[in-house]
Symmetry: C2
Subunit: 210 residues, 2 copies
DNA sequence: CCGTTAATACGACAACTGTTGCATTAAGAT
DNA sequence: ATCTTAATGCAACAGTTGTCGTATTAACGG
């Protein structure tokens, strides 16, 4: 019997995948245009040129649509820039975040907002965050290798400390973007990090790095 | 201290205010029970023991209900604790935030999530954030008075740096609560602050604080 | 090529959402 | 106490949302 086919689609042929692409494009477009509130199953189906029942049966509800969009979002080869310094890397990262969140319209911001509408979408989004922060950890290991940071620095906490203020201002507080904030948050986090604020005990059995 | 009558209600008598209280209680209860998605005008009216049309006419939609809840939330005398040190004050603040966000069920978390559903609710929430962060600025001025911080420290940025990681983890990333995070984030922010990371140029015409 | 059947389209339907006109209740004024 | 009318209750309505049975299309296998 089938050795390791993904448990999913039994007929992933041309039409099926074409309709998926049409529908996901429609979701992103509706999100960007009308925000999370304009995202109705009906509008998505109409824009995709597909019948309502097709969308209902394959994706069940708005949460299913969003989850699939998050799924598709991981399929890229993004990685953080290498600027040669920790502060520079964090600032470049923050610049990207600020640009993505303040674009008009911003699919990113709409996706974050929309993820509160369903548990399924929230799970998919959590996986995406996890993926992105994992890819960013190389920024920290590079800094350790350069001697900018003590070994056993907690990469995740440092990255969150550096990026959280941006999300807080733009997503939760919804204040207008501050052009200095990306640099400032990066600088603050780098300062605290080099002072050892994110040191963690070496994980047992791992006495010397690499 | 309300010398001028609010320009609003032409008949704020017993029944009107009683119904408002019933409805807002119902909103909070529905939010806590079923989250933002269970918050329907119909359910609120039913729980409040009020007719649907009454809710529709007075609050128009879910956004109006939420905005009124945010409005009512400012009517308290909350203020940050005074622990004697900057780090202690920030940690106490973070403990409160973490407790509010991880309560089961958490009205706070539900309100944040729900605020993405309407522009009106978002505005009301922005006013509430502004009010809370303004009340917290005394933490910074106390620290300056104690000599823990340089004068002209940017209170808002410091407070956001200290609290943002908590919101990021619990609201956006939705990771399980870390019991050490409140203290750690406070410690990190206090460290950066005392190193002058939040210094700002003295505002013109304000040469010496108070 | 043809047969099988998963995937989609279609149309009808119940349930829910929000609106409107009118009747009823009670707050504020005389 | 009585009057006025703002606020609420009531019932009927149109539009929307989600579901289901069935017909049609096209992907995969021979």
């Amino acid at each position: 019997m089938t050795p390791s086919v993904p448990p999913a689609r039994r007929r992933p042929g041309g039409r099926t995948s074409r309709i998926r692409a049409q529908v996901l494009d429609a979701v992103r477009a509706e999100l960007a245009e009308h925000g999370y509130d304009g995202l109705t199953m009906d509008a998505v189906a109409a824009r995709a040129g597909v019948h309502r029942t097709t969308v209902y049966r394959r994706w069940r509800d708005v949460g299913g649509l969003l989850a699939d969009v998050f799924e598709a979002a991981s399929d890229d080869d993004w990685q953080p820039r290498d600027t040669g310094s920790l502060q520079g890397d964090l600032a470049a990262l923050n610049d990207e975040i600020q640009a993505a969140l303040t674009a008009q319209p911003s699919v990113t911001a709409a996706l974050i907002a929309a993820s509160f509408r369903s548990e399924e979408a929230a799970r998919a989004q959590r996986r995406l965050w996890e993926d992105r922060y994992a890819r960013c950890e190389i920024v920290v290991s590079r800094a350790i290798r350069r001697g900018e940071l003590p070994p056993h620095t907690d990469a995740r906490r440092l990255l969150i400390a550096a990026t959280a203020p941006l999300y807080h201002q733009l997503v939760l507080l919804r204040t207008p973007p501050d052009p200095h904030l990306p640099d400032h948050a990066a600088k603050t986090a780098a300062l605290a990090a080099s002072a050892g604020a994110f040191a963690k005990p070496p994980s047992s059995g791992d006495t010397s790095g690499a």
